[in-house]
Symmetry: C2
Subunit: 453 residues, 2 copies
C-alpha cells in the first residue's frame, strides 16, 4: 500500500521526525514502523530499577501520534528498494513511500571478545521492554551486582540498583567515572557521593573475564582480582543499528553510521537518516562524533522532518554540542561542547576557568547549596567552546543556558556583559552569577599571560 | 586626597563597577563611597520578613572588596566639581578623581499627593538597614497590613508578611498583579496560589486615602470601600536618585535618569553612570526604559568598569532585556524581553504561543510538576522578542535559557532545531521540551495564517 512519509524506528528520533513531518506537511500520510509494540522512554530506563519501580511506568504513550493522525505499524522492515521506493515488512506487506527516514537507533555493545559474556545473568541495557522486565525481575532477586562501564548510563543504573538495596561494584577502565563528558576533577563530588552511598567503585581497571558454569559466579579484573557476583550489567556503550541501511546500500560513514549531509539526507535520493544510526559532526571539532543523545537525535529529527520535500534553507543541523546532564544523589552535573582533555587532544589553545558559589542569595537562605561552572574558551577567538556545571535541583536548566551560549558561538567578553535573571530564592546573585564570574576569570587570564594554562 | 577610580554608591551597580575596575586596571586605586555602613542585598529585602527572619541575615559582606584592595568610604558626597575633578564629602574631605562613576541607585516612590501618606506606620521599602529594622520590629507586632502596589516587590513583601502570620490586603490599581512583566493570563496561577494561602487581593482599584489620627487606622479605596488596617506598605515603584547628578550638571534624560551612552559615559568627560540612576534603552523597543533590575545594573557596571580608561570596543550595553524571575509559594515565574501587551502598544506584528508540559520525563516520576513557556516572535523576522515561564524549582534557570535566546536575537526556526540537554529526573523530555514546542507552535501559526493572532 502507498504511504507518503515512512519512518523506520519508534524511538525519539523517529517520533519527532513523524511529529515534525505532520506539522510541516499536513496533507501527507505519515507512518512509522517500529519493532516494539510498546516504546520505552530511553533516558528513563535506568530509573525502572528503583525510582519508577517498573518498566511499565516508563512507556512512552502512543496517544500523541494517534491524535496527530500518524500511523503506527508494529513490524520489522526486512528489505528496502530505493529504486522502486518500496519496502517490505516481515509480515510480507509491501509499502510504497515518497520519502523514507531511517531512525533505526542503536543497540548496546556486546563485547564478544570477553570470555563469559554469553553466560546467564550477564545483561545489557537494551531498549526493549520485555528484555528489561526480565532483567528487573532477575536483579530484584539478587544481591551482588557488577556494572561494567561508568559512562552516564552505567552510573545511573548502578546508583538505582544500589538504592534498591543491592551490593554494587561499578567497574570502569578509564581513570574516572563519566570521564568522557567531564574533566576528571569535575566528577570528584559525584564519585564521593556514590562511595558514601555504599557503592564500590573500581576505576582504571578493566574486566578480564566473567566466570561461571552456565551462569555468572564471579568476575576477574585485569589485575587478577576476583569478585564473587550474582549478575553483570554491561554498560559499555551503544553501536549504531545500521544492518538494514547497509543492506539497502546507503553509504556508511567513517564511524560506521549512516552518512548524511546537514539536512539529514543519505546517499540515496528521498532517503534520510536521523538519530543514533546517523553520522553527525561535532559542533566544535567538526569531526564525526560518536555522541548518542536524545537532544542531538531530536534536533536532527526536526531538521529532517522540516526538509523532506523541499529545503527550508534556514533549518540545518550544525553538529552535536553533546549536551547532557545527569543527577546522582542530590548532585546534578552537566556538560556541553568539549572538555579540556578533548580540546588538548585536538591541539587547541584554550583558556578555562571554574567558579563555584552559592545557588541562593544571600547564601544563608534555607536550602542554599553550591553551584559550579567551568567555561572553556578558544584562546584565539574568545569563543566559548565547552562548559561543565554542578549544582542542585535549581541548576536543572543551567546547562541549557550554556548550551545556547555555545550554539550561538558567543565570545567570553559578550558573556561577561550579558544579562542574567536572578532571584534570592532560586539562583546565584547577580554580582556572583557563576557563568559571568567564570567569564571574568577567563578575561583576566587572557590579559595576564601568567595566569594562562 | 587623590584616588584614581571613585564610585558613588554601594549597591550592586557600585560593587560590580568596583570589582570590574579592579580586574581591568590592576594598578589603579579603586574607591567606593557609600552612605550606609552596612549594605543590604537588595533583592533579598522582602525575605527579611519571614524566610530570612532578620535584616542582619541580608547584609552583603564587605570582605570581597577588602580582599580585592578596594577602598570603602562610608560618607555622603555633597558636591562634585567635574572641572577640577574633585568631590567633597560631608566630612569635609576633598577627593580628587581620575574617573568618577555615579551608582547612586533609586529611592522608593513616595506618593506625596496621597492623603495620609505621612502618617505613622505608613512604610516604604527603603534599601536601608536601620529603617527596615524598624519596619520589621513594628510589623512583627501588628496584625492587619495593607501592601499597596503588586509589582514583584509588593507581591514578595505581601507573601512574606502573610507567611509571618499577618492578615494581608494586597491592593493593585492595574487589572492583575505583576502586570507589567507578564501577560495577565500568565499570573493567574500566582494569583490563585496567593488567595489560597489566605491573602486578600484587590485589583483594578487604587487607594483613595489613608486615614488615621497621627497613625494609620484605615484605608479608603477608590470605590469608597474602607478597610481597617494597622499599617500600610507602599510598594509603588522606585525613582532614580539623581539629586547629586543634577547638582553636578550631568545631562538628565527624558525619563529623569542620568543620560549615558552605550559605554555608560555621561555628558561630562570622565564621569560615568550605572544602575538604577542611569538611563537605559529597552533591548527590543529601543525606547528609554524604566526597568530597574540588578541584572541590568550589574551588566552596565561590567561595561563601565571595563571601559573607564579606554574603550574595549566589544563590550557595550545594548539595552535592558528586563529579565527577572520570582517565586511565590512553590511557583516560579519569569519574564524576559517584551510581553504581548507591550508589543501591541508598540504596534508590533507578533506571533506568540504557549506550551505547557511536565518538568520530568516520564511524567510519572516522583516530584513531577508543570512547566509552561510562552514565546513571542516578531512576525516579520521570526526573531524571538519576549518570553515568559512558569514552573517549579527545576525551572530556576529556564528564564536565563530564554534570556540568551533573546540576547542573541535568535529566530524561532533556529530555536526549533536547537539542542537541549534533558534528563528524566530534572527536565522536560527532549521530545516535548517546552521552548522547542512553543517554537514549533509559532512556526505552524506562521505557515497557516488562520492560526495567527
Amino acid at each position: 500500500m502507498k504511504r507518503d512519509i515512512v519512518i523506520i524506528g519508534g524511538g525519539p528520533a523517529g517520533m519527532i521526525t513523524a511529529v515534525t513531518a505532520r506539522g510541516s506537511y499536513p496533507d501527507k500520510k505519515v507512518t512509522f514502523i517500529r519493532r516494539e509494540d510498546k516504546v520505552l522512554v530511553p533516558c528513563g530506563i535506568p530509573y525502572i530499577f528503583h525510582t519508577l519501580g517498573s518498566v511499565q511506568k516508563n512507556i512512552a504513550p502512543d496517544k500523541p501520534f494517534i491524535d496527530n493522525n500518524i500511523e503506527i505499524i508494529v513490524d520489522t522492515v526486512i528489505n528496502v528498494d530505493t529504486k522502486n521506493k518500496t519496502l517490505k515488512l516481515n509480515s510480507n506487506e509491501e509499502i510504497e513511500y515518497e520519502k523514507l527516514v531511517f531512525a533505526t537507533g542503536s543497540e548496546p555493545y556486546m563485547p564478544t571478545w570477553l570470555k563469559g559474556h554469553e553466560l546467564e545473568n550477564v545483561f545489557v541495557i537494551k531498549k526493549n521492554h520485555e528484555y528489561l522486565e526480565e532483567v528487573k525481575k532477575k536483579t530484584d532477586a539478587m544481591q551482588k551486582i557488577m556494572v561494567v562501564g561508568a559512562g552516564f548510563i552505567g552510573v545511573e543504573v548502578a546508583e538505582e540498583l544500589n538504592k534498591n538495596g543491592k551490593e554494587i561494584y561499578l567497574v570502569e577502565k578509564m581513570d574516572s567515572i563519566i570521564g568522557k563528558a567531564f574533566d576528571s576533577e569535575f566528577v570528584d563530588d559525584i564519585h564521593q557521593s556514590l562511595v558514601a552511598s555504599g557503592m564500590n567503585i573500581i576505576t582504571g581497571k578493566g574486566v578480564q573475564e566473567i566466570n561461571g558454569n552456565g551462569k555468572v559466579s564471579s568476575v576477574t579484573l585485569e589485575d587478577g582480582q576476583k569478585i564473587e557476583i550474582d549478575a553483570v550489567v554491561l554498560a559499555m556503550g551503544y553501536r549504531p543499528n545500521i544492518e538494514l541501511a547497509e543492506k539497502t546500500g546507503l553509504f556508511i560513514g567513517k564511524n560506521k553510521n549512516i552518512w548524511v549531509d546537514e539536512y539529514m539526507r543519505t546517499s540515496e535520493r528521498d532517503v534520510f537518516a536521523v538519530g543514533d544510526c546517523a553520522e553527525r559532526m561535532h559542533f566544535i571539532t567538526r569531526r564525526p562524533s560518536n555522541t548518542m543523545l536524545a537532544s542531538t537525535a531530536t534536533s536532527e529529527a526536526r531538521v529532517a522532518g522540516s526538509n523532506l520535500y523541499s529545503l527550508s534553507t534556514l533549518k540545518s543541523f550544525n553538529g552535536t554540542i553533546a549536551i547532557f546532564s545527569t543527577k546522582v544523589g542530590d548532585i546534578l552535573i552537566g556538560s556541553a561542547g568539549i572538555t579540556v582533555s578533548e580540546a588538548k587532544d585536538e591541539g587547541m589553545h584554550i583558556v578555562d576557568a571554574t567558579f563555584a558559589g552559592s545557588d541562593r542569595h544571600p547564601a544563608n537562605l534555607p536550602g542554599a547549596g553550591t553551584q559550579k561552572v567551568k567555561l572553556i574558551t578558544s584562546k584565539n577567538t574568545g569563543v566559548i567552546i565547552g562548559a561543565q556545571i554542578l549544582g542542585g535541583e535549581s541548576s536543572s536548566e543551567l546547562i541549557n543556558v550554556l548550551g545556547y551560549i555555545i550554539q550561538n558561538r558567543m565570545r567570553v567578553d559578550e558573556v561577561f556583559v550579558s544579562q542574567i535573571g536572578t532571584h534570592p530564592l532560586t539562583t546565584a546573585a547577580p554580582t556572583t552569577y557563576p557563568i559571568v564570574k567564570a567569564a571574568e576569570m577567563i578575561l583576566k587570564k587572557m590579559k595576564c599571560p601568567k595566569f594562562e594554562d
